[in-house]
Amino acid sequence: MIYNEEFETLPREALEALQVKRLQQAVQRVYHTVGFYKRSFDNAGVKPDDIRSLDDLRRLPFTTKQDLRDNYPYGLFAVPMSSVVRVHASSGTTGRSTVVGYTRRDIDTWSELMARCFVMAGLTKNDIIHNAYGYGLFTGGLGAHYGAERLGASVIPISGGNTKRQIMILQDFGPTAICATPSYTLYLAEQGEEMGVDMRSLKLRVGVLGAEPWSEKMRGQIEDKLDITALDIYGLSEVMGPGVAMECLEAKQGLHIFEDHFIAEIIDPETGEVLPEGETGELVFTTVTKEAFPLIRYRTRDVSRLVKAPCRCGRTLVRMDRVTGRSDDMIIVRGVNVYPSQIEGVLLNIPGIEPHYMLIVDREGNLDTLEVQVEVGEKVFAETGEVKVLQELSRRITKDIKDYLGVSTKVKLVEPKTIQRFEGKAKRVIDKRTI
């Protein structure tokens, strides 16, 4: 099912023509209404009229999180406050929070895009949606709420927290879909089990989960514990909120970006160069229809890749890979960009390996070295206790990393529980190079 058949299945050519037209309007608008953009375009020596094709987008300067902070709270708004009907803000754990605004039309667009996401997950107006995203300054709660209402589904605006009550409502109100972060969904499932509730027999059939990075392994756990299909939704408050991109039920293979409203690029986070389709790098978004808080080439720091190949679901919209990491974590080894999340991905595919690892970058002579320290799991060793099993494991890790990432590594197996455990943001890289 497709909510907006016309815009979600436009032939690529027509879609790109629409993007160029909207981009040109957006660029004109920000240049003439937001002092920051006028200054930044002027500094880069580019005028709105220079933008004639999608390729010209790369001539525009990037906008960063720091730019948003520097213009706190309303400096980047492109409309007077009288036209702003709502603001949201990020939590600001690493500094000042960033504030975003919406006109009535922005809210309308956002509601439609969230409705598109729900339909992409197979939901209809007959569904009951348990919305456990936080309501408030965080965009998750209200974003999903408006989308669910737009679709005509019944919303349970439970918000976050109060887990026991949530489990009672999941049993009694019979929601068929849940919106939450993947980690909270898993937590709900486990708490329910502990309370003696058969969490697989609930009426839930779909999870629209996002707002944090998660893995295929975690998806498997959630689907198994709740007997649902778990789909990934992507968004960030700066760009709009949830509903920038969504995974479709049919393919479950990458998230469709709503390109009639957002233009996505993948860049090399070091050089800022736009990378060819299919390569992994940092996601950059330009909003082409937003009125209150338009963004030009916003660097998300999220690591992903884009695939334009047609999708089984019939949508022509480009797909982004599940976000697996942050470009801030990227390391360059002998000229190859390596994200810790990519190494983790390889390790998780090798049976018997624990997802606890550390990357040590060093330099011997003029050559970078990358050592991957991995804990030896109980399982792989307990069966035989043989040296050759460990040597094979070590060889396999080296080979798989070389095959997938193109970089040679030295694998060091270490004793269990010797690699530091992290609560929250893990630090996986030690760079010993002195350059």
Binding site: F381, A382, G385, E386, V411, K412, L413, E415, P416, T418
Partner: protein, 144 residues
């Protein structure tokens, strides 16, 4: 079957690693009957036969070690020239592969005991028994 349970401990190559193992075993009152250390450039595996494998495994695990178990075979070998050769001859004829082995001398000094790890343990025991060699049962080895 006359198999002997050997426990293996994964060790990183670093000072104090081995000492910690022996301390844990000492504190638990466990006696080591035979041992061998296999090393690679990156890590080592300590193989042990002890008087109480179950307990040893437990205390080692409790102290954070990765512990594996393997079935090995203990064979009594006459302590004289050609003793080991006669055993290997019998096995080689039947295409049995020795993955590794280590030896120690029995208290009386008349026999050596060789611990073997074969690619086909049951078949090896069968051949050795049939050829007249003494395959020691686990209990015997644990309490030597």
């Amino acid at each position: 079957m006359n198999k002997v349970e050997q426990i293996s401990i994964f060790l990183e190559n670093k000072p104090g690693g081995l000492e910690f193992v022996t301390r844990v075993l000492k504190d638990a009152g466990i006696n080591i009957r035979a041992l061998s250390l296999a090393d690679t450039s990156d890590f080592g595996v300590l193989r042990l036969i002890v008087n109480d494998a179950e307990k040893a495994k437990q205390v080692l695990k409790d102290n954070g070690f990765t512990v594996g178990r393997t079935s090995v075979v203990a064979v009594l070998v006459p302590d004289r020239p050609g003793g080991l050769h006669s055993i290997l001859e019998a096995l080689s004829k039947e295409n049995i592969n020795v993955e590794y082995m280590y030896a120690f001398v029995e208290r009386s000094g008349e026999h050596a005991i060789i611990i073997f790890r074969f690619n086909a343990t049951d078949r090896a025991i069968e051949i050795l028994t049939k050829s007249g060699f003494t395959v020691l049962p686990g209990e015997k080895v644990y309490s030597l």
